[in-house]
Structure formats: structure tokens, C-alpha cells
Symmetry: C2
Subunit: 440 residues, 2 copies
């Protein structure tokens, strides 16, 4: 990788001042070297971006790549039914190849719609396949195998022994954490309290401190889940996580729809991070998270599409629109303006993942994770003196993403993917889901 | 226009049985002549549609083409502020050319995202420009000039004398109703009770009966609006419309977010039609309409994106997703399944417009208003034994629309518009909004 010069873009830096200007960006290797209104610097490669918008790549803080194959197989169900009737049996049927193509299908969708970094939760087995897909495609990801050593309703093929779950997690961590120039990291991923023993959660607490890696889990998504935790562990979901010492700045909680005051204070006080998944929360009828209140408490909140079967897209543009619209209807029309939402989708997500020094904004020294949007179409016009934040959050769609760069590498150029063969992935994803469905 | 044969599509008929099959459709002139699994009939033109999905074109039951130019100029405001501070001054600044390009911009977006029929409300002046754009582009539309003869806060340039408003409406009706093979129709369009005298509304009641045309207005969108009507007319919004005799099967009410029991019963009993605009209702913080209840009462409900400045798209895929997701989070995950939503977006919309015998489903004898979707991409895969309704409602996006036919005429083919020159419309829309903003 040498130098790349992106010329004459409208650059939305997402820096501390939310600066937007027309100019050039010089990339050297995997990092942004220089910004300027007109850089007269020779570069090995020049990308003419006149009329296009340059943004930091989107950061999604809650994704299940292993579920992409299940898109459309679990519609119109509530969380616990959705898990027990559809998702767990399908996850249990997964094989090495199906996990790989599930990840490839999801990554193809993610890159095409401008997401360059994800926090991902895999299934119990075959997690290597997902890491392989991430490594090959060039996506930036923190991922881990799901941990499930408890719960009578968990299918036998997914129910783990505690020691095995921990050992396999550590083995994966040691192999993949920091892989590919640090582009890939490991996170311990206990599914949720319902499916984990206290012993497992406490081991995860100690191991995540030892290795200094994230813990990625679900919490306070659904009222049934909360009642189940309360009955079994004798306290509210987040209170329990704090009680056993898991609440720390390394902990990332997906959903957090139903938090009481005490839980919000725990999250704030312990520096716990929150991943807001508005599409999933609506489709599974989970509820509407109190995002403005969390942001007001200076809690770091990112956005995620969750898995394909509960969304049914992995599209940050959809999640941005929803995250704004839902808070307006509950808190009034000035709540969650476009700027707030776009920060959540970029630097906010980076902060959730602890990567704010590396990604999330266009600034010298940061990783070159960049997307170019072509908004020269009816749905994003007029362009005259248009507010760029409104345009990206309220008008743009996935089809507007033109070029995507991750870690300085161009993974999509003029809507053509460079690291994924679409026809192979579409064909093999059909073959894989057919095989899994035949096993049920 | 001669015969066109569409071959080997997955045909979602949206007929009474919601039949879906793989086969061919023969079009003769402006109408569908025949469906079959393999039609061996010579045609002047053959469209190979293998691997694509054929649907009736979407029907949007509430649009303001004249506002498309204002996209992004009125974000993060509540309805009455939004109108008084931004939309009315901009509408007052409109000229003949700006109304034309506003309509062209909106129609370009609508056709590209699969909408073939709209119910449209224009502004006070220059409505001919919008009809000209509709006529030229080939869109199917019911439209009318807005009527505003009351209200102190209405800008002088929009405030009409009652007689003038009525005379201009009738003149437009006599020229445009039934134009272009019946593709264009006229609807009386009093803006809402707040901006109309009782005399005007009563004249509209009589004239709409005399000419047998629709009456298109806003009602029960916002709590401030309802309080205003109650204070001025002494009763609830829909009760008042019924009280003055306007509630009939010809009346189409946009929004209906805040209906009490009496108003719902009036709508049901009088055969009034409802246009649900979930995107607009969220962005303007209006609320969430009780659509499942209205559908349960056999009220005809259609979907509409409303105007570009309150959405900020005119995209039926966005409205479909939202209409499903919002009811799930309020009524549970099985509410508003994909089939229900897709009916609302097609035949349901046609019923709202009284066009159910002509459009809204793929059946012999109906108008050839058809769209082909190409879902061969990551975000709509796997395709193996996929539920087509889920795929279209929960996964598809505007970029998947490949070809659009209205009244037997191909207006977009392989994503290329045939009746609109994009670069001219984009350039002129920027010039027009610049001119309007300079007048404010």
C-alpha cells in the first residue's frame, strides 16, 4: 500500500467541531496523513471525488454475522420465541462452511452500505470461519464466539460445558486478537445472563481484564428476559452484572431498552457502553431505548443493526433514520437531530468500541476507514446550500455509497466490491441455508 | 403502444388470494391482458424478467410534489411551526418554474423507488405546472391545488378569497380531470380545517358530489391542530367534518393520528378513507396512528410519504418498513405482518383512491402499472424458499427497483428513466430553490 489522494470531496470530518469543508485527503498506507483545501502532493493513486461526500466509515456496535443466512426465516416473533423456535435451532445446525458464507453475505451487505467496523457476536461453534471471512474481506471487526453454558431450553448442540466455552474463547482470542495489523480483535461474548452460569460470567470478568479485551453481551432487551433474570438471579439485569463485577468500561451492552434508574446510574458510573439497535427493537417489539437520556448522562452509545433475521437489513442508513425518528415521536421533533445521529454512527460507535483514537473521524493520524457517497440523485436534491448532516441522515440510502476504504485498502470502488465475489456468495448462501433447513 | 410480454418473473399478484407464481404477463396497450405460467404468444416487445420480482406499482395516498424542493429546509420542527416558519413562506415564494421542477424532482424519486400512482396536494398557485410535469412524466396522479381562505398566520401570498379558490379549483378540474387516458384526475384539496372557512368546505362538499371527485385534506395529525379546531369550530376535527357533511366515501384524510372513538366510528360509517404517513408522523413528532384498529374496522388505509421536507424521502420501501415496525413495538411482533403491509402499499392504496378496479393488483383487465425488482444482492439474500412478502417489505430498498411501467408505458428500464432527464432536473432544482430562498 502506498499513498492515495482523494481530491475535491465534501469532507465531513466528524472531528470535535463537526467541521465540514471541500478539499483533499492524503492517505499513506493504512492511515490518514493530511487534510487540506487543495493538497499539491504527488500520490501513487488519485481518487477524483468532486461532487461526492467523504465520511468516516460507519461503526456498527452490535451485529451477528452468523445469522445473516437466517434473514426472513424468523419474522413476526418476540425475542424469546424468536430465539427458541428459530434462531437457536438454526445456529445449532450451522457448519463450518455455512458460518463462512453467512459472514460473507453479511459483510458484503455491510460494506456496500458503508459500514467499515463492526462489533460482532458469532455462534457457539465454527467461529474460525467468521474470522476467516473478516480477514479476507478487509472488514474491521471485534468478534467472538458466543458463550452459552446454561439454560434448559438451549439446544443440546449449543449447550456448552463452562470450561470448554472458556478454553475455546481463549484459544480464539490468542489466535485472532490483534490479527491483520490490529484490524481484528477478540471480545468475550456471553450471550446474555439467561444462558450463562455465574461462574462463566465471573471467569469472563477476570479474563477480559487480564487480556484487556471487550465483553459483548445483550442486556435489558425484553421484558420477558428481565423477568427471567430477576427470578433466577434475584435482581435486575444490569444490577446483577454489576453485582458480579462485570460492569466496567470494557463491557458493551446491546439494547438496554428497559433500564431503571439504578441501572442507568450503574452504566454511567462504571463507564459501561451501550449499543442501540432501533430496527431490531421495533421488529421484535422489544421497545424504544431511552437514548437521549443516556447521551445526556454522557454514556457512550453506538448504533447496530443486530442480526439480519430481526431487522431484516444490516444498513446503517436505516438505523440512523430510525434512531432519530423514534426519539422525536417520543420526546419532540428537536430531539436527536441529524448531527447527533451521525456522530453516534461514526465517532460514537468508535468510542463504544474503545477505538476512538484510531477510527470514527477524518483526522490526520487516524486509520483510513473512509466512505464516499454519491448523492447526485433525485432523493438527495436540491443540493444548493443543503445541510450535509440532514442529507446523510434523513435522505441518503445504502445505494448512495460509491467507494469504501478500510485500513487504507479500497474494498469497494464505484459500487464494485473488490474483496468479495458477489455471485459466489449469493449462490453459496442459498446452498447453505437449504442444507441447514433440511437438518431441522 | 402495442403488446409487451414480461417473461419468467416471480409474479406477486396482490389479488384476493395474494397469489405468487413464476410466469409471464402479457400487456396489450395500457392494460394487462393475460397471466400464465408460460405464455406462448407473440408480442412486439419481450422483457426477460428471470430472477426478478414483478409487483403492482406502489400507490402513495399522500404526497406534496410542490414541497420536494424544500427537502432538508425544515428539519427538527413540529407541524405548526414547520408550516408557519418554513413551508408556507417557501410555498408563497414558488413560481411557475419552481413548482414544475419541484414536481419533476419528486416524480423522478417516486418512479425510481417504484411508486406509480399518487394522491398529491399542490400549493395555492401554479398548479398547472405540476399537472404538466405529471402529464409529461407518465405518472398516474390525482392532484389539486390547495385551498386556503382562512387563518391569520397564512402568508398574504397564499391567503385566498373563497370565491377565487373555488373558481380556480373548478377551472383546473375541468381542464385536467380525466386527462391522458384518465391517468390524471382532480381532487379538491382544502389544506385543513384551520385554513378553510366553513363556507369553502361546504362548497367543496357540494362540488365534489357534483363532479364525483375526491376531497383530499389533512386531519387529526397533531394535537395542536386538534386543539385549534376545537377552539374555533367547537368540536373535534373529524366530528366537525362530518357535521358539515364532508364525511363521505369521497373524502381522503391524511394522517388521522389522534382519533377518538367517535371519530373512528364516523370514518367507518361514512366510508371515509385514511392515508397513513408513518415517516412524516415520526419526524414531525405527531404520533403513531392506530392503523391496526382502523384496518380491523374495515376502513381503507393507504400509505404515503407526505412531502420531502417532513420525511425526507418519498420512498415507499421506507414507509412500508416503518408502518410494520411501529405497530409491532406498540401492539406486539405479530401485528402488521409483511403481507398486510404490502397490500396497504398496493391494492389498499388503490381502494383509498377509488381506483381498485383499475390498479393495485396484477390481474387481467387492470391497467399495466407494474414494477420489476432485482433482489439479487446481499441485502435480500438468501433467496432459497424465501417468503416474497418478507423480502419486499423487510429487506428490499429503493435501489432494487429495476423497471417501471405506468399505463402500459415503460417509464424506467434497467434503472434508466425514460421520461425525465435527470441532470436537467437536478440542476434546475438547485437553481429554483436558490431563487426561492433569496425571496425570503
Amino acid at each position: 500500500m502506498g499513498t492515495i489522494l482523494i481530491k475535491q470531496a465534501q469532507i465531513m470530518t466528524m472531528n470535535a467541531e463537526n467541521a465540514v469543508f471541500y478539499g483533499d485527503v492524503l492517505i499513506d498506507g493504512d492511515r490518514i496523513k493530511q487534510l487540506g483545501s487543495e493538497l499539491r502532493i504527488p500520490a501513487e493513486r488519485v481518487i477524483e471525488a468532486k461532487g461526492k461526500v467523504l465520511l468516516p466509515g460507519f461503526v456498527q456496535t452490535h451485529i451477528h454475522l452468523c445469522q445473516t443466512l437466517f434473514r426472513g426465516r424468523a419474522d413476526d416473533l418476540e425475542l424469546l420465541d424468536w430465539l427458541k423456535q428459530r434462531i437457536w435451532p438454526l445456529e445449532a445446525a450451522h457448519d463450518e462452511e455455512s458460518v463462512y458464507y453467512s459472514a460473507m453475505l453479511g459483510i458484503g451487505e455491510l460494506i456496500r452500505s458503508g459500514t467499515t467496523t463492526i462489533l460482532d457476536m458469532e455462534t457457539v461453534h465454527h467461529t474460525e470461519s467468521a474470522f476467516r471471512a473478516i480477514a479476507e474481506t478487509g472488514l474491521r471487526a471485534i468478534s467472538g464466539k458466543v458463550m452459552m453454558d446454561h439454560g434448559e431450553e438451549v439446544p443440546a448442540a449449543l449447550r456448552e460445558r463452562t470450561d470448554t466455552s472458556i478454553q475455546q474463547s481463549v484459544d480464539l482470542l490468542e489466535k485472532w486478537n490483534g490479527y491483520a495489523n490490529g484490524r481484528i480483535q477478540y471480545a468475550f461474548s456471553p450471550r446474555f445472563v439467561i444462558s450463562c452460569t455465574e461462574r462463566l460470567l465471573k471467569e469472563v470478568r477476570d479474563l477480559s481484564a487480564h487480556y484487556d479485551v471487550k465483553v459483548h453481551t445483550h442486556a435489558a432487551e425484553n421484558r420477558g428476559e428481565i423477568a427471567h433474570v430477576a427470578q433466577e438471579r434475584g435482581m435486575r439485569n444490569v444490577v446483577y452484572l454489576d453485582h458480579i463485577g462485570l460492569a466496567s468500561p470494557r463491557l458493551i451492552l446491546a439494547h438496554c431498552v428497559w433500564l431503571n434508574e439504578e441501572e442507568k446510574q450503574i452504566i454511567r458510573r462504571r463507564g459501561v457502553k451501550v449499543s442501540h439497535c432501533p430496527g431490531s427493537n421495533l421488529k421484535l417489539a422489544s421497545g424504544i431505548a431511552q437514548v437521549p437520556e443516556l447521551l445526556g448522562m454522557h454514556v457512550h452509545v453506538g448504533l447496530g443493526a443486530d442480526g439480519a433475521p430481526c431487522n431484516n437489513n444490516l444498513d446503517m442508513f436505516q438505523e440512523m433514520r430510525l434512531s432519530a425518528f423514534l426519539q422525536k415521536v417520543t420526546h419532540g421533533p428537536t430531539m436527536m437531530n441529524a448531527k447527533t445521529v451521525l456522530r453516534m454512527a461514526t465517532l460514537g460507535g468508535a468510542e463504544v468500541l474503545g477505538l476512538q483514537k484510531e477510527i470514527g473521524s477524518i483526522e490526520p493520524g487516524k486509520k483510513a476507514d473512509l466512505i464516499l457517497l454519491d448523492l447526485n440523485d433525485f432523493h438527495a436534491y436540491p443540493s444548493y446550500e443543503a445541510d450535509p448532516f440532514s442529507r446523510v441522515v434523513y435522505s441518503a440510502t445504502r445505494g448512495d455509497v460509491d467507494t469504501v476504504m478500510i485500513d487504507g485498502r479500497i474494498v469497494m470502488e464505484q459500487k464494485e466490491l473488490k474483496t468479495i465475489d458477489r455471485s459466489t456468495v449469493l449462490r453459496e448462501s442459498d446452498r447453505a441455508i437449504k442444507r441447514l433447513l433440511s437438518k431441522l
